[in-house]
Amino acid sequence: MKKFEIRYGAVGGQGIITAGALLVDIAVELENKFASESPTYTAAVRGGPTKVDAIISDEPIEFPHATAIDFFLCTDQRPYDIYKERLKDNAIVVVDSHLVRELGDTRNWTVYPVPIINETKVGAGNVVLTSVVSLAVTQKLTQVISYDHMVEHIRHWAPKGTVEMNLKAIEVGMNLIK
């Protein structure tokens, strides 16, 4: 893997920006890769469409913004419509099957419509765990980080008393993709 670009799209509050931060932290701190990440930070983070672009590479990153996206995960229609640009023809696309209903031209993408938000609420118990569920979905579909490093990092990162629910969220994410 020379360079892999990941974009998460959501509406502010769903926690997707955390997923981007977790992903690059794992890649850099545990896997000694190079990474950069650019999240939305405007008023949109309070309910508007948000995104975070992450780049993970075996080599130092020169241009820090995404230019050809390999993997796109999106949990709402509005950010899907805005942020589906710059995807590669053969990108992997994961969308929330309840909240993204109009896919439009899907080119040569491999699309996985799955109930991310609903399963997070029901299976993991709290919608704020969307970040960790999305991280697990990313790991399963791309192997851009290893499963073991993901679990190790989440164990350390999760605030006291929330480790079990975060590990449960990983399980939910892994099971979302058959």
Binding site: A21, V24, D25, V28, E29, L30, E31, N32, F34, A35, S36, E37, S38, P39, Y41, T42, P60, I61, E62, F63, P64, H65, T67
Partner: protein, 375 residues
């Protein structure tokens, strides 16, 4: 485990400032620079250093100038609108010869412009924003490691030459989170001169070309520090001979030390047919473009200015002896291109890639501009 961590660009600058010994920060938050003030406000009290949120940017730089004279290493951070407000005090710091580091994380302008969009449109304001003839030092890192090292260097140069140093950044670099290895203390130079006890009152008296020493002010001596032109003692003077000398003292302390002040990076320039001149985020668009050009058999190279003022004139002139095509890439409607044009000898083809709409250049756009020049 890696020694590298992912940090936001603004946070790298804040960390570097603390590592350089910054012990006084006065600022007023503004997008896209706010995390610098935010980080300082959290960390400085823990280190028993001073953070003040001021009522505006004018007061922020005023407080830094005062604290600097009282022996502190000072910094403020802002973006375009705040930088405009600071211009008067930048002149004051130049005139009174006061070290201070001013960070400008550039965003789209003029006026409030585009707070969340990047630009490189304050290049000339950094040079000529304050009125009157004056020397200025402005640094502009591009990569994460440089954001640390150039911040430390900004403090060192301010202290050495008793002049304001402007540290430029932009919305992309400030807001992006990048992997970076923060160097261990001791692995980089931190310049600090112990304040000299006042032995006579002629605090500005020195030979042309010499750096002013740090003076231990506020210990019972009647020292006068003023924005008015002054004599060696600091008292106002408009005597033509005195003014001549003071102007030269201020200019030559910088211009006789260009080797120490000017830094740049050169990539693939030895046999380059096209030299791309750039800095900051645009240099990060240009580097992969130059590499891609090489892969396609086009001899392109990158000259990345780290010191933008004084302009790295001599190094660039040296390159124009062999390279006869230059492409200036900058996120504005054309500012540093004029510096390139005035030193490029006749016979050098000069092109530009310019834009000020809030979108950084993709590497492909730079590559296409390079290709246009070799068609």
């Amino acid at each position: 485990m890696s020694a590298r961590k992912v940090l936001q660009g603004n946070v790298i600058i804040a960390k570097a400032a603390l590592a350089a010994g910054c012990d006084f920060f006065a600022g007023y938050p503004i997008t896209p620079s706010s995390e610098i003030a935010q980080y300082m406000s959290k960390e400085m009290p823990k280190l028993e250093r001073t953070f003040i949120q001021m009522e505006d940017e004018i007061a922020s730089l005023g407080a830094c100038i005062g604290a600097s004279l009282a022996g502190r290493k000072t910094m403020t951070a802002t973006s375009g609108p705040g930088f405009s407000l600071m211009q008067e005090h930048i002149g004051m710091a130049v005139m009174a010869e006061v070290p201070v580091v001013i960070v400008n994380v550039m965003r789209g302008g003029p006026s409030t412009g585009m707070p969340t969009k990047p630009a490189q449109a304050d290049m000339m304001q950094a040079r000529w924003g304050t009125h009157g003839d004056h020397p200025i030092i402005a640094l502009y890192p591009a990569f994460a490691e440089e954001m640390f090292s150039e911040t430390v260097r900004a403090f060192n140069l301010a202290e050495k030459y008793w002049n304001p140093v402007i540290l430029l950044s932009d919305e992309v670099l400030g807001k992006a989170h990048m992997d970076v290895e923060i160097p261990e203390p001791g692995s980089y130079e931190v310049f600090w001169e112990k304040p000299r006890q006042i032995i006579d009152l002629n605090i500005y008296d020195r030979n042309i070309g010499e750096n002013p020493p740090r003076v231990d002010f506020f210990h019972g001596y009647p020292i006068h520090i003023d924005g008015l032109e002054h004599d060696a003692h600091g008292w106002p003077s408009f005597d033509a001979k005195t003014v001549d000398k003071m102007q030269k003292l201020r200019m030559e302390k910088i211009y006789q030390h260009l080797d120490d002040i000017i830094r740049y990076k050169e990539y693939f320039l030895d046999d380059a047919e096209v030299l791309v001149f750039s800095f900051g985020i645009s240099a990060r668009s240009a580097l992969p473009a130059v590499k891609a050009a090489r892969e396609q058999g086009i001899k392109a190279g990158l000259f990345q200015a780290l010191t933008v003022w004084p302009f790295p004139r001599a190094a660039l002139q040296e390159r124009f002896k062999k390279t006869k095509k230059v492409l200036t890439v900058e996120m504005n409607m054309g500012q540093m291109k004029y510096e390139v044009e005035r030193i490029a000898p006749p016979g050098v083809e000069k092109q530009t890639l310019l834009r000020a709409n809030g979108m950084s250049f993709s590497p492909d756009e730079v590559l296409n501009a390079i290709k246009e020049m070799v068609r």
